[in-house]
């Protein structure tokens, strides 16, 4: 999974897509995940870190993860073909 080139993110969760001018506000978790994606971490590693750090079960995390990916896709922030939705 890869964010589109030049997507700007901030520690506060603000996301700016310079190709379209769209901007979004995310929460602290969004900020953490986006930073991890930008740093090249894979899905399994990010999920593992979340499971260790927060009180959430794997099934709940998977459901929330899928919702999150749908939002990223709708926002046109993911490189096409870089997430197969498994």
């Amino acid at each position: 999974m890869k964010l589109k080139k030049n997507i700007a993110t901030s520690e506060s969760g603000f996301i700016f897509n310079p190709a379209t001018g769209d901007s979004f506000s995310g929460n602290a978790m969004a900020s953490y995940i986006l930073l991890a994606i930008k740093n090249g971490e894979d899905e399994a590693s990010i999920k593992q870190n979340i499971l260790q750090k927060y009180e959430v079960g794997p099934e709940q995390l998977d459901r929330d993860w899928e919702d999150w990916i749908v939002q990223l896709k709708e926002a046109n922030l993911l490189e096409l073909g870089t997430y197969d939705g498994k």
Binding site: N6, A8, F16, P18, A19, T20, G21, S23
Partner: protein, 350 residues
């Protein structure tokens, strides 16, 4: 060059920084920022209440000039008077409606020592709203279908073919999105009375509004291209806030335009990006846009480049700018003494 402390004296029109702003004040701001105190700005104003007339921190002196409808004779006569007193090196016209006259008198201005950098009459006409759809067809640009309207019957025919909503546009300015025949008829009469005929009915395209500020070198290339996405749009369709964006498709579009026309000077391309990422050209304005200071703030000072080009200096094309620069326009009550208004109204100089 003028025989005083200034290196350059530049006349600028379009000082109407109101809710439907002319580009003049933004152009001057960019010039002042890029050229510093060595530039003297002479405002050229049509009306006494153009705010730029009273912005003495930007405009050194302003002269009233005759409306474009008065013709080239009275314009040149007025400029001759101003030139004698101020020693103009260059004029930057910023209104669509005045460009025809300025292009016509450009050779005479040159003889007087006043430079301009303008498109040709042919270039001006090719992108005219009346000719834009044909220009698009000939050069493979996506332009919304349109109809030229002279009568109410023309409007009814256009509505049948293009369906509602329709965009009703004036020859020079003004655009209204009409959702019913009655609304379209009202807009047709209103726009026609203000700007003359034909009025244009353009097919409405839903999508993201993007404007591109470009500066063509007259040889098929651009010196500068800065695209801006509108973030806040007024009821007159003007950007009240916007952000610079970077999209190779927009650069390609602007470069194709420069190549197709050999455009000389500034232009603004108004574009809609639809849900399938198709870029429709809605208008091409033959001048700087009112938001041109954003281009300067993003790293490409087009007004300064225009001046350098006009002065025959070598200008290297820009190749980068800062995407994500945001502008937010605002209202400001500028207070001056009535005597200034009186002076300008009575004597045409301030």
């Amino acid at each position: 060059m003028t025989a005083n402390k200034y290196d350059l004296c530049i006349g600028v029109t379009g000082l109407n920084a109101n809710d439907n702003p002319g580009p003049g004040v933004a152009v001057i701001r960019a010039l002042k920022e890029g050229l510093g105190i060595s530039v003297k700005i002479i405002g050229l104003s049509y009306e006494s209440l153009e705010p730029g007339v009273y912005m003495h921190y930007l405009v050194n002196k302003t002269y009233q000039v005759p409306y474009p409808t008065a013709g080239t004779e009275s314009l040149i006569e007025r400029i001759r008077h101003i030139h004698k007193k101020e020693g103009l090196n260059m004029i930057i016209p910023n209104f669509d409606a005045e460009l025809f006259n300025f292009i016509k008198i450009a050779p005479l201005l040159k003889k007087m020592g006043i430079k301009t950098l303008l498109p040709s009459i042919e270039q001006l006409l090719i992108r005219d709203k009346v000719n834009l759809a044909e220009f698009g067809r000939q050069n493979n640009f996506d332009v919304p279908a349109d109809h030229k309207l002279l009568t109410e019957a023309d409007l009814k025919t256009a509505a049948e073919e293009l369906n509602f909503p329709l965009v009703i546009k004036g020859k020079f300015y003004g655009a209204t999105v009409a959702y019913t025949l009655n609304a379209a008829l009202n807009a047709f009469h209103e726009v026609g009375a203000a700007w003359g005929y034909p009025v244009i009915a353009q097919k409405y395209i839903k999508g993201t509004e993007i404007n591109i500020a470009g500066l063509g070198n007259g040889k098929g290339n651009n010196i500068s291209i800065v695209p801006m996405r509108k973030l806040y749009i007024t009821d007159k369709g003007k950007a009240w806030a916007g952000v610079t964006i970077e999209d190779p498709a927009l650069m390609k579009l602007a470069n194709s335009f420069a190549k197709a026309t050999n455009w000389n000077g500034p232009y603004e391309m108004e574009v809609i990006k639809d849900s399938e990422d198709r870029l429709f050209i809605l208008e091409i304005n033959p001048r700087f846009p009112a938001w041109i200071y954003l281009a300067a703030a993003a790293g490409q000072n087009q007004p300064v480049s225009l001046v350098k080009m006009a002065m025959d200096e070598e200008v290297i094309p820009f190749n980068e700018y800062h995407a994500g620069k945001l502008f937010i326009r605002h209202s400001w009550d500028h207070v001056v003494d009535i005597s200034e208004f009186q002076q300008f109204s009575a004597f045409g100089e301030l």
